[in-house]
Symmetry: C2
Subunit: 252 residues, 2 copies
DNA sequence: GTAATAGTGTCTTTAAGACATTATGGC
DNA sequence: GCCATAATGTCTTAAAGACACTATTAC
């Protein structure tokens, strides 16, 4: 039990000194995914500074007060900051992936990293930003096999990336999230391409057509075509009932 | 870009001072769930200290170096610490729920809280620990309706709890996680009770029997009975394919 | 024309929904 | 014997798997 003389909440807060405890840093790292040439690709930056100088890493940023902002923002703000300041790209969808706080994951100090997942169709070509020598989208298969080229992702980013791939693959089954990889208007073939790229397996066209059109709120036809192909736009549904099933699937 | 004279990683780390940045605190809060009298219940503690003195809260702890441990442990260690030091209970399953870092969620300072989800069948009766006046399992319906009694959960714990309920309900659909609410040996009726309690809706017995026994690796019969009822134990499967479906379901 | 992709149709198989029915043990 | 609950059985319906087929456009 705390032993303290009775005091009100206001007094308690006035006397509270945040600096009397050991510092813990909080960072936000982002796994930004997109589809390029039918392959699932992740945004990586080549670190210009220590630690892990010269190695590829996920774009990230420390959580510190932002100038002109009295207080800390929601963590999503930092995820967007990491994208725009390290690689000048914008994500169209952002969700929290998980938090990684194992000891020794950062050699500088104790860093708890909140990982976010971003994806979109419309990433501009990445451009190296603060503390970054290069920025590029790399196929996730390649990123998962960097050890074959005598290197590896910085920190525990390999682990974060693996978690991200697993999450995306799972979510395509039971959510309408695949549409976030596509522009406003797309064909069913485009959508099938997303599933094929993320799951890295062929999709049965006939059954896929039947399924996506039978699922209310997944896709809605719009009044135009690309060639002979009907164009659709994302519907309002966020989950797929029943889900689209897939077999196994390991990574990398 | 960072402007610094070229130096090696070792020198960089030697000169790195973690204390030169604004402090951010990291805490771990735990949503510990169990089933009591066919109701889903959550472990809450009544705060003995400011802030939110006298209000119910999820058990939690700050992430700080642990005595006798050179460095920070994985965050799960802190989740277990929160359970044992605030309420003297043990969870049998622990998973990360999400991280909550919105500004103002803690009046003392900027606190990023990593929430964990714990559950088990064998929680001992909780007992108030450090900084806690009471500890109790409360039906989640009641915890979600505290405002009807003129109070509410401390911090943003209502939000965390709601996230947890949603997560558990979802995961019963596609994982074998329900068995963690049960002791080593249980009947299919017991398992059905877990689903009924978590989903707060009646389950069709005949179809449930068929389903759980048709799903390989979900439950395995053991060589004994409770009365006329066959006893089972959890199988090795972690996911259910196809999932057990449920209708809608809002909370509270 | 041909090739490639868009889209349809059909038969089979799997599994869920909605019950009714039988079996067994506690009292 | 009676009740509660354990367990099985059956018919219907929903939806996936597999795969053949037709349609349209680019070239």
């Amino acid at each position: 039990m705390d032993i303290r003389t009775e005091q009100g909440e206001a007094e308690f807060l006035r006397d509270y000194d945040p600096r009397k405890f050991e510092p813990v840093a909080v960072s936000v790292d982002v796994v930004a995914l997109t589809i390029r040439e039918d392959r699932l690709c992740v945004l990586l930056v080549k670190r210009a500074t220590h630690p892990f100088k010269g190695q590829w890493a996920l774009p990230g940023t420390f959580v510190r007060p932002l100038p002109g902002y009295d207080g800390f923002s929601g963590l999503e703000v930092y995820a967007n900051r990491a994208l725009t300041r390290k690689a000048f790209v914008n994500g169209s969808h952002l969700e929290q992936l998980g938090t990684f706080g194992h000891p020794g994951r950062d050699p500088r100090m104790h860093v708890v990293s909140v990982a976010y997942l971003a994806f979109g169709p419309d990433f501009l070509e990445p451009w190296p930003g603060d503390g970054v020598d290069e920025a590029a989208f790399m196929p996730v298969k390649e990123a998962g096999n960097l050890h074959q080229r005598g290197t590896q992702l910085a920190f525990d980013h390999h682990n974060i990336l693996a978690t991200a791939i697993g999450r995306v693959r799972d979510k395509l089954e039971y959510t309408t999230l695949a549409t976030y990889f596509l522009p406003e208007a797309f064909t069913i073939g485009d959508l099938m391409g997303v599933y094929g790229a993320v799951w890295d397996q062929p999709i049965n066209k006939g059954n896929f057509f039947r399924k996506v059109r039978a699922t209310k709120g997944f896709i809605e036809p719009v009044d135009s075509k690309r060639g002979k192909a009907q164009l659709y736009t994302a519907g309002l549904a966020r989950t797929l009932y029943p889900p689209i099933r897939r077999e196994g699937g390991e990574w990398p």
